[in-house]
Symmetry: C3
Subunit: 111 residues, 3 copies
């Protein structure tokens, strides 16, 4: 594989407040071929401001791997599937990576 | 919201050696509006070289969400609040994300 | 230190299916000066498609810190040391960070 054929990928991060909800988000995104795979990490402690006070809550992080091309469809799906009003959905670029792994991500997210 | 108004955000990562120190860093940064929110994950196993030997230690990771604009103030605050001589403070760019969530990050970090 | 001397760094992520394998990957990369340090987080729940069905498995995430310059050598080493046929090896750029910490990453990965 030449560098020019390596697909651009993204590491997408969302969080939710229960293990089974994190599992449903990860499983649903992979099932729909919107992400090649996902890891669920948790419980983690979330710290945020709510009505003027700093609060903490248990959450689960979901790390999803997808391509640039599929990002918008994944984000739309996550917003719909998530039960938060304004869920965290952020993506950082994958600028280096195993060519074989990136090719697998692209293949797994091709409908 | 148009794409041009979406604020540029950063995912900032630091680590420390106790859960209560991680909590204080996360809470303090959110309290000071230097980060919109944070997640604490741990204990994780840190592996590093110390005086020639590879050592392991329990640490806690803190993932903070802020804007480009607030990064320098957040880094200065973390360096001051942290009790390591050279703490890990690194940031990766958020190049895609939910516009509503990114707007919330910007609003929460506006003094 | 001026901004121009701050080395470009990467946050590299791999996953494996046992804590001792994650430890060996982290320790071996630091031992070989291919990464300055690593954090192992797990067990996490991995979700992926296998032979048409969505499966879950326990995995451990390894977060490695290195420089752009050492990335290719680190990736080669990880591919060799890993027992998966197509391991996840992805890297996101560190675009901001503590100058002292980034200098330490560069020093620790200099042979």
């Amino acid at each position: 594989m030449t560098a020019s054929t390596t697909p651009a990928a993204l590491l997408v991060l969302t969080t939710t407040d229960a293990a089974d909800k994190a599992d449903a988000l990860a499983r649903g995104a992979v099932e729909a071929r919107l992400a090649a795979c996902a890891q669920i990490s948790g419980p983690v402690t979330s710290v945020y401001r709510w009505e003027g006070a700093v609060e903490t809550a248990a959450e689960w992080q979901v790390f999803l791997k997808t391509t640039d091309e599929r990002y918008e469809a994944l984000e739309s799906w996550l917003r719909e599937a998530h039960d938060y009003e304004t869920p965290e959905i952020i993506a950082t670029p994958v600028t280096r990576g195993s060519a074989a792994y990136l090719a697998w991500v692209a293949a797994e997210t091709t409908a």
